[in-house]
């Protein structure tokens, strides 16, 4: 299991349920912090990140702007 909480620093011997994979925020991390970290990473690479919003994403899909 790939959940990130409540695990000791060394997990090499920890039993795991085969196959499952999960996504969790790190302990104490908020959704806003998580997304801000991603945007900071892009910004540091010279990219201007911005979330276009679901309506704009839907428009792009319907307009065929995202390609195959």
């Amino acid at each position: 299991m790939a959940s990130k909480r409540d695990l000791p620093a060394d997990n090499e011997d920890r039993p795991v349920t085969p196959g499952t994979r999960g996504f969790a925020l790190c302990p104490g991390e908020t959704a806003e912090q998580f997304l801000a970290d991603r945007e900071e990473m892009l910004s540091s690479a010279g990219i201007e990140p911005s979330w276009p919003g679901a309506a704009e994403i839907r428009r792009k899909i319907q307009a065929g702007e995202l390609g195959g």
């Binding site: 196959g19 994979r21 996504f23």
Partner: protein, 189 residues
């Protein structure tokens, strides 16, 4: 227009994927999802039991209850917890971005684990050292086992690539080392 609900957002995340990736995910049993309002460990355990599959251990169930999303190959199902505390009180843009991210992350896992071009888990540490700092530090802080590094690296990178795709920046980004990009393209051509 009302804000889209969780199911609509995951559907939107799905439609953003390249058609070839959707085909691969369908083949490996990761094209279906269920939105739940409970801990994902409990949700997965109950569904595995109903399907006469071996349930998760108590420790795994407890740990997975913290997750926002989870892919359960034996159920051919991606589970997403829309009642997760991280989503409560978040504004619309944050919820949209995070839920779509979670879906992309899970599909990244599914493509990685099911790839016909298997990758060597022992490469994980080396590739993680090459990864952009934001990805590298997050995975290190997550206390994963070393052999999980490569799967997490793939899932995080895949989600970021889909994030870039919706902003009209497909292909290899400037921030991603060639070794990692090549790994992703082998898994999801």
């Amino acid at each position: 227009m009302d804000a889209p609900n969780t199911n609509e957002l995951v559907q939107l995340a799905w439609e953003v994927l390249p058609a070839a990736h959707r085909r691969l995910l369908t083949q490996v049993g990761a094209s279906q999802w269920e939105i739940v309002i409970e801990g994902l460990g409990d949700a997965a355990a109950a569904r595995l039991l109903s399907a006469s599959e071996r349930p998760t251990s108590a420790a795994d169930t407890a740990a997975s209850n913290q997750a926002l999303g989870m892919w359960v190959p034996n159920l051919r199902l991606v589970l997403i917890n829309q009642a997760h505390p991280a989503l409560q009180g978040a504004d619309t843009a944050t919820s949209e971005a995070l839920l779509m991210w979670v879906a992309w992350h899970e599909w990244g896992h599914a493509l990685s684990v099911s790839s016909s071009s298997p990758h060597d888990p022992s490469e994980g540490e080396k590739l993680l050292a090459l990864a952009p700092e934001g990805i590298r530090e997050r995975i290190r802080r997550g206390h994963y086992r070393r052999r999980q590094y490569i799967d997490e690296l793939i899932a995080e990178t895949y989600a970021l690539l889909m994030r870039e795709r919706i902003q009209g920046r497909p292909g290899q980004p400037v921030w991603l080392p060639n070794e990692i990009y090549q790994l992703i393209t082998r898994i999801a051509p």
